[in-house]
């Protein structure tokens, strides 16, 4: 049986949005070739979730459901996936390019002795071979890549790029043989960000602050605007290196590469390393007092002005629109 196998990532029983995107893209590609989409779910107490994946186009769902798989472990999860690959014999394995998916993809590809096309933003058929486009040099260039002789080829899909679209099917659920989980790797604890904070890697809207904020206390302006927009808070390297905000918020070449629907850069001049991390955002807004700032070159909408006045006013305007 050929087809595309999709690893469906869940946390606490909830499927990640990026996994629905991966399933949807797999379905679109599989339809073109008349091949099936098969899913694999790994975790503890996830069997019930498996049957719902038919809604997203999966014809068959493999499940590895064991208490020892409650937390992500690269070796154990790779073993479960390899066993699903053995069953499904797919042409490709898709994963969302999340912290887990990016990591697992490398481990799995090496286990299968095949290649991996990581963090892709487009996938297409070239004859019977999958070709993918991936931003390289942090988005300063786009590489078209394929998996050479890899069967299957492992592909991770950048979150927020591919549309998630339901495609109802009845999914057959099949249990995988138990994974022999080895010792030597144990997740002791999962520490969450402050309650209510969104991660920039997953957010639809990001409001970012940079050196123009002049101090850590002024991130309050950014947080206020982010709150009314339901957005994540991002930061430039300058703000992170100054110790104003944690590195988890950094967008750019040594931070996260993001593709939200809306990116609002406040007081960020737009160093090449920052532009690399956010220029694939769908709509970019720049608020900066320097009309010559390079950020305006990539902005769809630029406001030249004092961010200490523009941001609170914008927060107020958005609040009005939302009520």
């Amino acid at each position: 049986m050929a087809g595309i196998l999709v690893f469906v990532e869940q946390r606490d029983g909830h499927v990640r949005k990026a996994s629905f995107e991966a399933l949807s893209e797999a379905k679109r590609l599989a339809q073109g070739k008349g091949i099936p989409v098969v899913a694999v779910v790994v975790g503890s107490g996830v069997r019930g979730l498996a049957s719902t994946l038919g809604d997203w186009g999966a014809e068959k769902v493999f499940v590895a459901d064991q208490p020892e798989l409650a937390h992500y472990s690269p070796q154990a999860y790779a073993q479960a996936l390899a066993s699903a690959v053995g069953e499904a014999q797919p042409q490709a394995v898709f994963l969302a390019a999340t912290a887990m998916g990016r990591d697992l993809a490398g481990r799995l590809a090496a286990k299968l002795k095949v290649g991996c096309l990581p963090d892709v933003t487009a996938v297409r058929w070239d004859g019977d071979t999958l070709q993918a486009v991936r931003p390289v040099y942090s988005g300063k260039a786009l590489a078209t890549v394929d998996g050479g002789k890899s069967v299957p080829v492992v592909v991770t899909l950048r979150p927020n790029v591919f549309p998630a679209q339901k495609s109802p099917h009845t999914a057959e659920v099949m249990a995988l043989p138990p994974v022999a989980v080895r010792g030597g790797y144990k997740v002791k604890e999962v520490v969450s960000l402050q309650a209510g904070e969104l991660d920039v890697a997953e957010a639809d809207i990001i409001v970012s602050g940079g050196r123009g904020l002049r101090g850590p206390e002024n991130f309050a302006l950014i947080r206020e605007l982010a709150k009314v927009l339901g957005a994540a808070v991002g930061a430039s390297r300058a703000a992170v290196d100054a110790g104003w905000i944690d590195h988890a918020h950094q967008v750019g070449q040594t931070g996260k590469v993001v593709s939200p629907t809306l990116y609002i850069a406040c007081g960020i001049s737009g160093a090449i390393q920052h532009l690399a991390g956010m220029s694939s955002s769908k709509v970019i807004v720049a608020i900066n007092k320097d009309p010559e700032a390079p950020i305006f070159k990539v902005a769809d909408y630029g406001v030249v002005g004092d961010l200490f006045q523009v941001i609170p006013a914008l927060t107020e305007e958005v609040r009005k629109l939302k009520t």
Binding site: H71, P74, A78, A99, M100, D103, G106, R107, A109, A110, G115, C116, P118, Q131, V136, Y137, K140, A141, L142, T144, D146, G147, G148, K149, G183, G184, Y185, K186, K188, V191, L193, A201, E202, I205, D246, Q250, Q253, T254, G255, V257, L262, I272, Q273, K282, V283, I284, F296, A299, Y301, G302, V303, V304, G305, D306, Q309, V310, L314, E317, V318, L321
Partner: protein
């Protein structure tokens, strides 16, 4: 304790990228090469361990002749040995090919208790090699680590995930890929830079490791073509120097009615 650090030489992050004559790789003319920024955290962590626990640190890199310099740049900060797997670059961009070459070099120079690498090589931006080397060595790995505590039998590593951190207890030997935040990389001292020139570098060919570079390169990942992203057309500029309120109102209107994103 014996530590290996996998390092790579990459174009300076401030470089302007142009497509080279092959149409599949960048134009290297005028490029300044630097230690991949994430590898700097890996190097620092190894040197800190050497200083606190007396470890021996071996740097390993794969790449063309010029990449010997990356080992010198590491030595300028500290460390003991360097292994340069000299290649043609045929495996560039193929993470599994690179992982196989580095694994063979690790086996030859090892055994090691800890192997550090950067979470990704800046440039090809794959973030795969660390996990692949761990799999080929059949040992655990923890990726994207921002903090480590060293215990008697193993280590506790804080790994960055969406919206938080996973705290992982892992046994040795293992592979750790370093994320920003793990430490503050030191600057090389002048004395270090002078001493680095005399440090021993073992130069080996890929064939000396029992591998065929030409056959490996592109077998599992090929770069078919490289292009620059399409240039963006100029956006709308709203002047808010005089009336920030009006500018904010106009921006909100455009985002709502024209861009339809809020």
């Amino acid at each position: 304790m014996r530590i290996a650090v996998l390092v790579t030489y990459v174009p300076d992050t401030a470089s302007t990228i142009k497509v080279g004559p092959s149409g599949k790789a960048i134009d290297e003319a005028g490029i300044k090469w630097i230690i991949s920024p994430y590898d700097e955290f890996a190097v620092e962590e190894a040197i800190k361990l050497k200083e606190s626990k007396g470890a021996e640190v071996t740097y390993i890199t794969y790449g063309p002749e010029r990449d010997q310099q990356v080992l010198r740049e590491c030595f300028a900060r500290g460390g003991d040995k360097g292994v340069h797997v000299v290649g043609t670059g045929a495996a560039f961009g193929d993470a599994f090919a690179i992982a196989q070459i580095l694994t063979a070099a690790v086996k030859k120079a090892g055994p090691f208790d800890l192997i550090f690498a950067g979470v990704k090589g800046v440039g090809s931006d794959q973030g795969l090699v660390g996990a692949m080397v761990a799999e080929l060595l059949d040992i655990p790995h923890v990726a994207s680590v921002t903090k480590i505590e060293y215990g008697e039998a193993g280590i506790t590593a804080w790994r960055e995930i969406e919206g938080g951190q996973e705290v992982v207890e892992v046994s040795l030997p293992c592979v750790i890929t370093a994320q920003k935040g793990l430490n503050e990389p030191r600057y090389p001292s002048l004395k270090g830079i002078m001493a680095a020139k005399k440090m021993p570098v073992e130069s080996v060919k890929v064939a000396d490791l029992g591998l065929d570079e030409a056959a490996l390169g592109g077998a599992t990942c090929r770069w078919v073509s490289l292009a620059l992203p399409p240039a963006k057309s100029a956006g709308k500029i709203i002047h808010g120097e005089q009336d920030p309120q009006a500018a904010a109102r106009e921006l909100a209107r455009l985002l709502r009615e024209e861009a339809k994103v809020i």
